[in-house]
Structure formats: C-alpha cells, structure tokens
C-alpha cells in the first residue's frame, strides 16, 4: 500500500512535475508528482480534471431520451452506457426480462463493443509501450510507429476494431452513438443479409484474436519479472458474474473477492448495489473513490475490468477463451494475479471470448425475430449494471409520474479503478522514479501503469466541479464573452 504517497507531509519545498495531459488514454487526466532535492518522491496523484455534469442535467429529461443522451459520456464505449441505461429503464416500462430477440440483439451489440474497445486499447493505444519499451523514443511510440515496425500486428488491430464497429453499426444503426436499444427492448432485429455480412470475416477475426492472446502471453513470459511486479498492489476484485458463476459481460449479479480470492459477497442483485458500495470524495479530483462498505474506505478499494473479471468468474463459457484463461491462471498458481500489466493479457482473452460469443449469437435463429419490445406495469426507477470494456458500470435512475427523470446516479468503470490506478502509479514511482532525475522515459512508466487499466477519463468526468479562481473568456476580437470568479455571480 502506498497511502503515504497520497499527500506529502509538507509540500512547500517540493518540486512539482506534471504529466499533462496523460496521452494514449481517452479523456482528460493529469498526474502530479512532488519531489525533494534528492528526487525522492513525496506525493503522486492522478487527477481527473474535467467535469461535464451529466448526472445533474439528465434530471428533468423524459426517461426515453436517456439511453441516447448518456452514451455521449463516451465515444469509445457508448454502447455500454446505452445498454446500462436501457437495462435500468426496462424496469420503468415494467419489463423484468426483455423478449429473447431483444436480449440477443443487445448482447450482440455489447460483445461487438467489447471487441472493438479492447482492440483499440491494445493495438492503437498501449501496444507501442509493450512492443517498443516503456522508456523508448517518444517520437514513434504510437500506432503510426507500430504500423511501420509491426505492420501485420497493427493491421490486425485496425481490422479487429473495424469488425467490432460493424457489429455495432448493424445492431445500433451507426458505429458511434447509435439508437438500437430502447427501454423495454430494441428497435430492430438483425436481417439475414446483415448476419451473413458479419459471419464472413469471422474465421479471420477468431484467428487474429488468438494471435493477440499469444502475443501478450509471450510478452509476459519474456519479461516475467517486469510484468509481475510493475506497479503491482494487491486489492479486492469486483465484477458481475452470471448466476451460475460463469463470465457474463451483459448481465448478472455482483461478486467481490478479497486480494487472496476469498468471497466478500456474491449473488448481489444490481438493485442492491448501494448496500455494498459507497463512494468517498477527495478534494483533489473530480472522480470519486468507491469502496466496499464492509471493509471501509481505506481497505475497501478494489479493481474492476478484464483482470478482475477473468479471476472473479468460475469459468468462461467459450472454449478458446477458457483455455486462454487457464493459461493466465497457471502463470500464478495458488494466488490471484494483481499485476496491472496482466490487464492486457486478460483484455485479449476477453477480446477472443467476444469473437466466440458473436459467432454463437449469429447462429441464433431468434436474432432476426419480430418481438422486439416487452410490456408490463409501470415502475418508478431501476438500476442497470453491465460489464463495460473497462469494468463494472452502474446506472441508477428514478422517474416521476410525468415520465421525467428525478434521480441519476452513475458509477462508471474508471471510477471504480480510481484508487487502483493511484496505487499503481505510486508503486511505479517508488520502483522507478524515487531518487532519479525524472526523464521523459521514466515519466512514461507512470503512464504505462495508467494505460494498463484502459481508463476512460471522459466517462469519469460526468460530475460537476467547483469554480476555484477567476476566469475570463474572450472572443477572437478580444471582447469578453464571459467572466466568472469564486463567490461572484457569473456574468455572461
């Protein structure tokens, strides 16, 4: 644990270094590091610096707008928000279980999303660190560099992502911010032509997905000491699992394990999430810090996302991914894997699993059915939980009898990993920066640890923040458009 690096005892004489913005992640974040004259690290923080206010401005909107509005939290995982909101609002339109066709279409959309997001994260954003080295020349340390040095790997990444995006386009109407899911079901099913179009590239997709797992597993085996210890801090794990304990990314019940693998809670229904989880606010970040209530704020933090999911579940229901999971578990016999870099391995296992699930779903005759929306007695609200690419995503709404939203509470995947990311970068700072003059290459080590969690900082910036100082906004001609300061009424 690195709690002593959260806040320096005396910050006045320390030198501040900022990594701003954190790059090759989605959204806005920065890291600040406070060092003394001997380059000893005294404080390390990942700050989420933006606010957008979704939780508040959703209030007062008609509930049927919500699945389309809230997906604008995030352009990488819009489907996760689209579906989590739909699942929560299914309860409002009185549907406990959507028709089979709707469930299949939503699942197809979701696994397409997991596939494209995992491909984007690994190939486009993180692979440069893993292939070129954490401290390598920053010039080509990006997807363009990967295309030049490893064209086959990069092209497979581009085409894997394309396939996932096509699954989304066909089920949701467009690749980014579609409209396929609605409270109670979906608005279209999958035609035989669309099914054919998706089946055609599947053999190659499955092959490339397996190659991706092999690539990451090989990287681990080649640099085992580095991959096992880089930023590693044990913690509890949280995810949805299917009621039978198998991996399910679309629906299920909450399960948490402690750092040694003992169950903390299991079979918790989504609507009961508030009985198990609480959130703490800290002054230096707009992102809240959730924790498991029974363990308290200092001990109760946990990890979510691929590495948590493949270890929280009892099995994966598709054969290739389950075999790959067993290989990951065998690399750490008798204990859980907590290494941030193992997230990449778990992520590629899930990418493979998604391709297998998509293949299964495309064989379901009812995917093209005509019963799209369920009906039932009107309810007052609901909780929808889904496993987004980055981890557990909770949407909670209440709706009044005018159909307007009165409460919206979102705990997004990246927020669950807030403490985990802060712990990981403090550990990396201890391991690599402490006592050294910080270079670009050393500072990139901090970002490598953040990237392992695939944070979606846009998702995490839904809350509104305070106005600490004064700002003036001028138009191109120098005219003041707006001015605002603390404690003063905003003008403009």
């Amino acid at each position: 644990m690195n709690g002593d690096l959260e806040t320096a005892k005396d910050a006045t004489k320390l030198r501040r270094i900022a990594i701003e913005p954190v790059t090759r992640v989605e959204g806005h974040g920065k890291v600040t590091i406070l060092l003394d004259d001997q380059h000893r690290v005294h404080q390390v923080r990942l700050h989420i610096v933006e606010f957008r206010g979704f939780e508040r401005f959703i209030q007062g909107r008609p509930y049927w707008e919500v699945p389309v509005m809230v997906q604008r939290l995030c352009g990488i995982c819009p489907v996760s928000h689209h579906l989590a909101a739909s699942k929560a609002l299914d309860k409002v339109v009185g549907v406990q279980q959507v028709p089979r066709t709707a469930e299949l279409v939503r699942r197809l959309m979701h696994y397409g999303q997991i596939l494209q997001s995992h491909a984007l994260h690994f190939y486009h954003l993180s692979s440069p660190d893993l292939l070129f080295g954490f401290g390598s020349d920053p010039g080509p340390r990006n997807v363009v560099g990967v295309l030049a040095a490893y064209p086959d790997i990069a092209k497979q990444g581009v085409l894997l992502r394309k396939f996932g995006q096509e699954v989304i386009r066909i089920t949701a109407g467009k690749r980014v911010h579609g409209t396929g899911s609605i409270p109670g079901g979906v608005n279209k099913s999958v035609s035989p032509e669309d099914r054919e179009e998706l089946l055609r590239p599947l053999p190659e997709i499955l092959e490339w997905a397996q190659a991706g797992v092999r690539l990451v597993a090989a990287l681990h085996q080649q640099h085992q000491d580095l991959y096992d210890h880089f930023g590693t801090v044990p913690s509890s794990l949280l995810s949805l699992v299917a009621k039978d304990g198998s991996l399910d990314l679309y629906d299920g019940v909450l399960r948490a394990k402690d750092h040694q693998g003992a169950i903390i809670f299991d079979q918790v229904e989504p609507q009961d999430y508030l009985t198990r989880l609480q959130e703490e606010v800290r002054s230096w970040s707009y992102m809240k810090f959730p924790f498991i209530e029974s363990l308290g704020p200092s001990e109760g933090w946990y990890k979510v996302g691929p590495l948590a999911r493949v270890q929280n579940c009892d099995r994966i229901g598709t054969p290739l991914a389950e075999a790959a999971r067993q290989e990951l578990l065998a690399a750490a016999p008798g204990h859980l894997v907590h290494a941030p870099l193992a997230y990449h391995w778990a992520r590629m296992i899930e990418l493979l699993h998604s391709a297998e699930v998509i293949q299964e779903l495309l064989a379901e005759p009812e995917l093209g059915g005509s019963e799209l929306v369920g009906k039932g007695p009107r309810g007052g609200g609901g909780v929808g939980i889904i496993e987004a690419p980055r981890g557990t995503l909770i949407h909670h709404y209440q709706v009044d009898d005018q159909d307007l939203v009165t409460l919206c509470n979102l705990i997004v995947s990246t927020t669950h990993n807030n403490q985990a990311m802060n712990e990981a970068i403090r550990q990396v700072a201890r391991q690599y920066l402490d006592g050294h003059e910080p270079t670009e290459g050393l500072l990139n080590h901090i970002e490598v640890a953040i990237r392992a969690f695939d944070p979606c900082l846009s998702c995490a910036t839904h809350a509104l923040g305070q106005m600490p100082l004064v700002v003036e906004l001028q138009d191109p001609s120098g005219q003041v458009v707006a001015r605002l300061s603390r404690g003063v009424e905003p003008i403009g």
Binding site: R52, R161, S283
Partner: protein
C-alpha cells in the same frame, strides 16, 4: 502535396472522444492517410503540446479554463482549424448544463448523491482547472476555418474532408455526408 506530409494536431476538449473514434473508423484507409499526413500533438501520440502544424482537428466544446488554454495554443500553432462534431460547433450535449446553476449541481453531485460516505465534500484544488459557468462552442473564442457537423461526423465525411483538403480542393461534403445526429 510535394513530398512533405501535412502535419495534423488533434485534441478532444469537452467531448467524448467519439469524433476521434470516427476518424479511426476510416479503418484501412488510415494506412493510406498516414502516407500523406503526420500527427503532431494528439491523444494518439505522446507529444503533449502542439508545435507548428498545418491542420488542427478539434472535438469538444469549452467547459473549463484548460480547454480555453489548449484551444488558444492550437489556434496559434495551426494554419487551418476545424471544429469537428456537435460539441465543438454548438457545445453539444454538455451544454445541457447551461441553464443550470453550477452551485446546485455541485451540491447535487458531491454532497447529496446516493451512497456518499461521510456526507461528501466538494473538490477544490489548485490542480483542478476552473470550470466555466457555461459550455461554449469553439467559435466563441477563436476563429474557426471549417465546421464538420455530426455527432460524430461519419468516417466517410471526415475522409472526404481530409482528401479534399490534401488535394487542394475546397472541402465539400456531398449528399449523405452532412448530418447532425
């Protein structure tokens, strides 16, 4: 183009990264594009601050002082500045907060939301940039050379725009490429 690649910076301000996703949605054409352009500062590279460049593609509106600073820095460095997508052009969905009092929002999110331990507190730290009272589109603050609409603009629209520009034509989006959803 006479052998020299077009230098392109991209950034996301108060956006969702969806316009960047749509840029990547040109799929294999990305490989062709990289024959003609090179990236300067961008979330896709590790260059944190822009140098002189030909083109800046900017998604997202302005919700805090840092957004304004980044936008002005880009305007100084680039020859052509493009407002990409609904948020850059109108403020987009984040501008839904423009009719709300920021203080009520703060209380609602950080002091009275469900599941808050210890009653919560409102974040306040010099490291957190100052939020603006309202979300603004880019042209409230800098001159914008082109507006590329859509939420997000489709990959085909972005491709058409870039290939027109690279060929020295005035970009024109044909039928089906201009849409606002």
């Amino acid at each position: 183009m006479s052998g020299k690649k077009l230098r392109v910076a991209t950034t996301s301000l108060a956006g969702c990264f969806g316009c960047h996703m749509s840029l990547l949605d040109i799929d294999e054409r990305l490989i062709d594009l990289l024959e003609l352009v090179e990236f300067d500062a961008s979330p896709l590279t590790d260059k944190k601050h822009p140098g002189p460049c030909d083109l800046a593609l900017i998604e997202g509106g302005l919700c805090n002082a840092e957004n304004v600073h980044v936008l002005r820095e880009l305007r100084k460095q680039c020859k052509i500045l493009v407002a990409v997508g609904a948020c850059a052009i109108t403020g987009g969905l984040p501008a839904q907060r423009n009719n709300l009092d920021v203080r009520d929002c703060l209380r609602s999110v950080y002091l009275s939301g469900p599941g808050l331990a210890g009653g919560g507190l409102i974040p306040n730290d010099p490291e957190l940039p100052l939020p603006l009272a309202q979300v603004h589109p880019l042209h409230d603050v800098v001159k914008v050379d082109y507006f590329l609409p859509g939420c997000p603009p489709s990959a085909d629209a972005i491709w058409q725009f870039l290939t027109d520009l690279l060929a020295g034509r005035t970009p024109a989006l044909g039928h089906g490429l201009i849409h606002y959803d």
